[in-house]
């Protein structure tokens, strides 16, 4: 334990000693290793489920016609959505940040807001207008409308921080505004744009609720179909493996991108605010376009929830009679699971986040990377793996709330690690060393120095996880204890039988909570809801 705070060089070199973990504080390391194992468990289970038979059997299952069909569906929709989100997100960001658009502050609030409406709620709204929104076109419309802020937010941030002098030089040298955008602005925002687009791809790959409601077949809905049709675990697990490969490719792409944004200013002093282009005569069409965008992304989902709140379903359709007590129970479950998961996830993220800030050891780097892996794990795959896990080695927690919380903790640990990492970085190691020198035990140091100083990061981590859990559908659907219901599962149950009015109160409360949590996140912790995605 005494080596624990012997931090003279705050960041140690990797591989100094003769054991793999030399120089690392063992108790913390042990905790972090256990958490890493927990994160890896669903990946391992999915792989063993998929490849437990003979190779020939596996290959026939893998090369069946539906795999190709799903790949085609997923790739086409992914590409189209990404393109639309890239164009719409960049255009909206440029208009808000770089033109004299009237009401810019309002648009800046409205543009990222669709992130607070889960895609399956938006699907519910569109589907309730007419079932023409079923299928590929509807899926493209709904997920593009839901995900374009994933591009808007990073691109807007990049545009805000641009150095105007480059563009000014280009204009002085005779470039037209378009040339200027294409040759000067675009290269500078490219990392943000590509990063956002990759996020969109990752979301399309892992989305389940929206595609299931809109009857569009992708890997996630096919895995669910195999499961509900009663197949043995290996059939769905093989599809899950193909999906996991696609998701992990996205993660690799993203981490490569993160290393490459090198358009920093070299000059001294602060950059001026970037110049704004006058819209001139195109002001009206541009405004009309943005209004249309807001109607599609916000007006339709919110408006239809409002509309259905005033209606009643025929008893034959309604999955449950509307009662305040049911609404309250579902709300309490959503909030309760959200709060417990927020605390649990933040707690198990702490060891990895702390180690990764204090030690640059190979083992620590590895564990930090592992903690980002669940971003590429679709909820449906995780849930099925955890069912297997609890049935084989953890019977007591099978179908219990504990298993659901563990599932949430695994999916959302990346959010917590990122938040904690950022705030732990700001704590000077000298403070911890002085406290140790003055006789505090390591646990007291954690309690009195590290945790209070990291409080903003802990708060942000908890808020992010809370927001994500309350709007989570897929994992909840499969792992929820028998008889319990959350807001999300109630919306799901009712809208799958077209009981739109029955679903409306649940959808309204869910969106209300989500918007409130996003607002708290943005105002109190300075985090945008994109971090929860």
């Amino acid at each position: 334990m005494s080596s624990h705070y012997n931090l003279a060089p705050a960041r140690r070199r990797a591989g100094g000693g003769f054991t793999l973990w030399a120089g690392l504080p063992k108790p913390v390391l042990l905790l972090a290793a256990l958490v890493s194992l927990l994160i890896l468990a669903p990946f391992i289970i999915t792989l063993t489920d998929a490849f437990h038979g003979s190779l020939a059997h596996t290959m026939t299952l893998l090369w069946r016609p539906i795999t190709a069909k799903l790949l085609l569906n997923t790739i086409c929709l992914g590409a189209a959505t990404t393109l639309i989100c890239g164009l719409v997100g960049t255009a909206a960001a440029w208009l808000v940040e770089r033109t004299d658009l009237p009401g810019r502050r309002l648009w800046a609030i409205l543009a990222p807001l669709p992130l607070a409406i889960p895609a399956f709620i938006a699907s519910y709204a569109w589907l309730s207008i007419n079932n023409v929104f079923e299928g590929a076109t509807g899926a493209l419309l709904v997920v593009s409308a839901s995900y374009y802020p994933l591009v808007y937010l990073p691109v807007a941030a990049a545009l805000r921080n641009l150095d105007p002098s480059l563009e000014e030089s280009a204009r002085t040298m005779g470039a037209t505004p378009w040339q200027c955008f294409y040759r000067v602005t675009l290269p500078q925002i490219r990392p943000a744009l590509l990063g956002g687009m990759l996020l969109v791809v990752l979301h399309v790959l892992t989305e389940f609720g929206a595609f299931a409601m809109l009857r569009f077949r992708t890997f996630t809905t096919a895995i669910y179909a195999e499961y509900t049709a009663g197949f043995a675990a290996d059939q769905g697990a093989l599809l899950a493996c193909v999906l996991l490969v696609l998701c992990l490719l996205c993660l690799v792409g993203e981490s490569l991108l993160r290393g490459h944004h090198s358009y920093a200013r070299v000059g001294q002093g602060a950059a001026r605010a970037p110049l704004r282009y006058p819209l001139g005569r195109s002001r009206l069409p541009v405004l009309a376009g943005l209004v249309l965008l807001c109607i599609v992304t916000l007006g339709v989902p919110l408006g239809l929830i409002g509309f259905w709140l005033t209606r009643h379903d025929a008893a034959a359709i309604a999955t449950s009679a509307m009662s305040l007590s049911l609404l309250w129970t579902a709300t309490a479950h959503s909030l309760g699971y959200g709060l417990i998961a927020a605390i649990a996830t933040t707690l198990i993220a702490l060891p990895i986040a702390w180690l990764s800030v204090r030690y640059r050891h190979t083992l620590v780097v590895l564990m930090e990377r592992i903690s980002y892996l669940p971003r590429g794990m679709p909820g449906i795959v995780l849930a099925l793996a955890l069912v297997t896990l609890s049935l084989t080695i953890a019977r007591p927690i099978y179908q219990s709330a504990a298993l659901l919380i563990i599932a949430y903790a695994i999916i959302f640990i990346p959010l917590a690690v990122v938040s904690l990492h950022a705030s732990l970085l700001q704590i000077q190691p000298r403070l911890e060393q002085s406290a140790r020198a003055l006789g505090l035990t390591p646990i007291k140091v954690m309690q009195r120095i590290v945790l209070p100083l990291a409080a903003p990061g802990i708060g942000a981590a908890m808020a992010l996880v809370f927001l994500s859990v309350t709007t989570e559908l897929t994992t909840t659907l499969l792992l929820i204890p028998t008889g319990a219901q959350t807001l999300a599962t109630q919306v799901w149950a009712s809208s799958s039988t077209f009981a739109f009015a029955t679903a409306a109160p649940y959808a309204a409360v869910l969106v209300g909570i989500s918007m409130l949590a996003s607002w708290v996140l943005a105002n109190r912790f300075g985090r945008s809801p994109i971090d929860a995605q």
Binding site: R215, A229, G230, A314, A315, T329, A332, R395, A455, S496
Partner: protein, 352 residues
């Protein structure tokens, strides 16, 4: 350094927020989980249900009132829950399993996971609607039908057999939820009557011709809206849509197959007590209730269920064509067996 130290100040708003969150958390946890803990003290029956939520709610409410036993329900598709029960094996928390179709129950019976149903319960229902081995009892039944939009296709043009719908002339005109557990018995019946290869050719023809829906509710609505001319589904969904829209507003019509055509198959919704049920006695009591006069009358008279109650002499909802006048294919529940051949055919046809 100064700025970081100020964060330790006791009146920092972060602390207030933390306290608030803690208080809120305690309150909520108490509310949510105290009610569940109270429920855990009473004997609570666990029901795995592949049936419609509103039907089950009606039955469960009536049973709880009559018996004082409370019932927890886990909803899902029948085959999914059957698979879950197989994986749970001896550790299953489920007492009773109720499905919309018989194959899932036959499957569990083959796996020796069902207990014998009390003979007094079995006696309430004609023998052909229950398991030959007495391991599950038929509760209600549904008829497979076509629903059609008369503005798009005339009744006289509709085919005599469901097998004809694979012909090229029906391309783009039919809709079906092919991977539904409701349709699997139909696929199996075609395979029983025509053989595996012909059934596969038929299924491929249907796949080529059909708009594939992911839910039968969506399908019957689509037929009514004119999105597709003909739908293959259980009649349940048609009558439910008619109940919702009203007799005047519904455009689509229902078409019954005759002459023992496979298309007119009757799906049996049954209930079973699990061999490893934690509460076998209450489970038998619940299953007996399902076929009791009271429960079956409740279903027949309700405006939420459009299935044939199977109890001896129980008249069905008057909206339905009387069970005795139907002409289903001659297939017993034992012949129908489980879903394995249907699943294999669906996979061979590239649908799963």
């Amino acid at each position: 350094m100064y700025s970081t130290l100020t964060r330790l100040h006791p009146h920092h708003p972060g602390r207030l927020a933390l306290k608030l969150v803690a208080a809120l958390l305690c309150g909520l946890l108490f509310c949510v989980f105290s009610s569940e803990a109270m429920a855990a003290n009473k004997p609570t029956l666990t029901l795995y249900s592949g049936q419609h939520q509103q039907t089950i709610r009606l039955l469960v409410d009536a049973f709880e009132k009559a018996s004082g036993v409370s019932v927890k329900v886990r909803h899902g598709d029948g085959p999914e829950l059957a698979n879950t029960i197989i994986r749970e094996n001896k550790a299953t928390p489920a007492d009773v399993f109720i499905t919309e179709n018989s194959p899932e129950l036959q499957h569990l019976q083959e796996r020796h996971l069902l207990a014998s149903i009390d003979s007094s319960t079995l006696a309430q229902v004609p023998a052909q609607y229950s398991s030959g081995k007495g391991r599950w009892v038929g509760v209600v039944a549904r008829e497979n039908v076509l629903t059609y939009n008369p503005n798009m296709v005339a009744k006289s043009a509709l085919p005599a057999s469901v097998l004809d719908l694979a012909a090229p002339q029906w391309k783009g005109k039919i809709g079906i939820h092919l991977t539904s557990p409701d349709i699997m018995p139909l696929i199996r019946t075609v395979a029983l009557k025509e053989g595996h290869d012909k059934a596969l050719a038929w299924l491929k023809g249907i796949k080529r011709n059909a708009k594939l829906y992911q839910h039968s509710s969506g399908l019957v609505a689509a037929v009514n809206n004119g999105d597709v001319a003909i739908g293959i589904s259980n009649s349940y969904y048609y009558y439910r849509l008619r109940e919702q829209l009203g007799n005047n507003k519904i455009v689509s019509r229902v078409y019954h197959f005759a002459n023992h055509d496979p298309g007119g198959l009757i799906n049996i919704s049954g209930a079973a007590v699990l061999k490893y049920a934690p509460h076998p006695k209450a489970a038998q009591q619940f299953v007996a209730f399902l076929v009791s006069h009271k429960a079956q009358q409740l279903l027949a008279a309700s405006r939420i269920d459009f299935e044939y109650p199977l109890r001896h002499g129980m008249p069905a909802n008057p909206q339905l064509k009387p069970l005795a006048t139907l002409s289903p294919p001659k297939v017993t529940v034992t012949q129908l067996g489980d879903d394995s051949e249907a699943l294999q055919l669906l996979q061979e046809a590239g649908l799963l």
